[in-house]
Symmetry: C2
Subunit: 377 residues, 2 copies
């Protein structure tokens, strides 16, 4: 009998030791999760479980960041589906990460090992084992969450009936690695970073983390949407056209980006930011599998691919590549939006249609699979 | 009689005091320039002068950075045209800038005022006055040089017979301001910046300037070209997939970007980088002219607009906007390239055709103008 957490409550689960892809053992890993909707079906077969994968600085609270999409009667209908979202290993929202306590009583800090997307997925599999679950109707996610969903289809295809992979690519591109390395560098060059061992020192690399977020945000948002909102408008009470250049005299868009930086500093750990950004740099489904296209072709999990037309971080041609090469394409959808990458979070109306279509198609696939003897369960 | 510098030799010209758009006077400004080809024609009327405008960290040596395009028989045919390129005010390649000597004998440093694109053009006009020149066949430039060429058509239309505006927009976009502010911030957060007064202290914000350049370079190069070159290849002898994240274990693209940063530090002043990047943030041809489109429509200088299909810094829709609204469109050209913004420097074959077409069209316009009594000379 599967015992799940009280609805909506962040709940830690001890999943035991975990050894990373690169060979470091993390003892007694905790993974925190939230759950909505009642579990129905077979924990080892056909059931109503949807595993949602959050993005880089996201968290388990899907009811918050996809508030238009999760709930009774919504696309992720909690009257029908049992939705689970775990906080990623390496994160700072309840799961073991660089800011967690090390077995020696101090903080992990720089001792926390590198984490790959595959590690994130392997840990999640171990988490499901701890709950007594060995099958899911679907895994869904965008951005880093999309990378996790894609790796799920390759690492544990027999666990999934379907996947929805949103706004991501088959591997990191050189440009992504470049811009993500710039963010890591902004943190590591902050003197308060202290080599990653800043926890408990009374100093933290807030300026570096804020700088990283400002850069990142420019890859999350489309330039046309930002320009419509801010253009060259000066920030109220400041004069960026004054006689001398001054950091305190800003355009409105600078103030907006500063605010994004400050908001992240208030809610996120710089160590987790470095570890998770590095995991995106390591994203490569072709590694050890004979290359990207061979890897993609190898899975038979019915997979829906979703992209955003104005995404500069994961340009749409990357989702076209996925859709051309994935072994069992369930469907493809393009979000049309000036917002850029973040459209999978911001364009609720379009995402509602995409997710409903995905769940209809994947449900039909499962029904058909049962009819012909089943391909996945 | 116009006396010009020896061919190819960087030559300083004292142009007197200059007062910026925002009201600060810089005494005894020096502007350095290079010249190729013999001057022919009327210094105050029809002549063979082409003024080339360099980009942000460019310099006067057009024979170097457009080596395929400048020279005898090339598109900028120095047997036919007299080509001039000035180093921008605020720069560090011979013209007065933050690293120049202040009248008090110390370095300008943080006392150097903010410079707008309009200041760059007004100073250049003053420079031409000092040489005894009051007419040009054309002004050409890309990126910041394109912003200068565009301002020339609005500030001094009677001086120009034509202009070629490449890979730029009518004003800074919010995204550009954001990413450029991130670069300025990377320098200003370097403790060795010392508020801009680092010259002569034995410390300079090399790490900050290199970080700025790494970010900038990602806006200059197309993601597809970078991915073809580097993909997820590790740097030789390093392992970015190792058990711990380490700044010393890099992907090849990180090493490439680090190299771009180091190269810039060796050749460019951080103070100039801040001043000139800030000038791009101030770029707005609509300021004080009733808005962008009214300003664009107001000039009758025949203007060619050139863009790059994969430019993320100055996306092609910005050049489409210019071409739709400019008062006298001589022509439009699209460089098709995976290289991105830098294609106007890198795609020599296409740029050769664009510049030949521009000079043919502009020469025909001048001839037609003479036939019907002249519109510009």
């Amino acid at each position: 009998m599967v015992q799940l957490s009280p609805e909506g409550t962040l709940t830690p689960v001890h999943i035991g030791d975990y050894t990373t892809e690169a060979g470091v053992t993390i003892p007694d890993v905790t993974i925190a999760y939230q759950r909505w909707g009642e579990f129905r079906g077979d924990a080892d077969g056909n059931n109503n479980l949807l595993l949602i994968e959050h993005a880089l600085t996201g968290d388990t609270d899907v009811a918050d960041w996809w508030c238009d999409l999760l709930g009774p009667g919504k696309a992720l209908d909690t009257d029908r589906w049992c939705v689970i979202c775990t906080n990623v290993i390496g994160g700072c929202k309840g799961s073991t990460g660089p800011s967690s306590e090390h077995p020696d009583g101090d903080v992990w800090g720089s001792r926390f090992p590198a984490i790959s997307i595959r590690d994130q997925v392997a840990v999640e599999r171990q988490f499901l084992d701890a709950l007594g679950i060995s099958h899911l109707h679907a895994v869904l996610g965008g951005s880093m969450g999309g990378a996790r969903a894609l790796e799920w289809t390759l690492m544990y295809p027999s666990v999934l009936s379907s996947a929805c992979v949103i706004a991501v690519s088959a591997r990191a591109s050189a440009w992504q690695i470049g811009i993500q390395a710039a963010q890591i560098s902004a943190i590591e060059r902050d003197p308060d970073w202290q080599g990653g061992n800043f926890h408990g020192t009374g100093r933290s690399p807030d300026a570096g983390l804020a700088a990283a977020r400002r850069i990142a945000h420019l890859t999350y948002r489309g330039e046309q949407e930002m320009d419509e909102r801010f253009g060259t408008t000066p920030q109220t009470g400041e004069n960026p056209l004054g006689p001398y250049h001054s950091p305190g005299q800003r355009f409105a868009v600078e103030s907006y980006l500063d605010y994004q930086g400050i908001k992240l500093v208030e809610r996120f750990d710089a160590g987790s930011y470095v570890i998770l950004t590095d995991s995106l740099n390591r994203h490569d489904i072709g590694r050890g599998r004979g290359g990207l296209n061979k890897a993609l072709a190898s899975t038979q999990v019915p997979t829906m691919i979703v992209g955003v037309d104005t995404d500069i971080l994961y340009p749409y041609h990357q989702q076209e590549h996925l859709s051309r090469n994935v072994g069992n394409l369930l469907g493809m959808a393009k979000i049309v939006s000036p917002v850029g990458h973040d459209a999978f979070l911001a364009e609720s109306r379009q995402m509602d249609r995409v997710l409903r279509r995905f769940l209809n198609l994947s449900t039909a696939e499962v029904a058909a699979g049962e009819g012909r003897g089943g391909y996945s369960i």
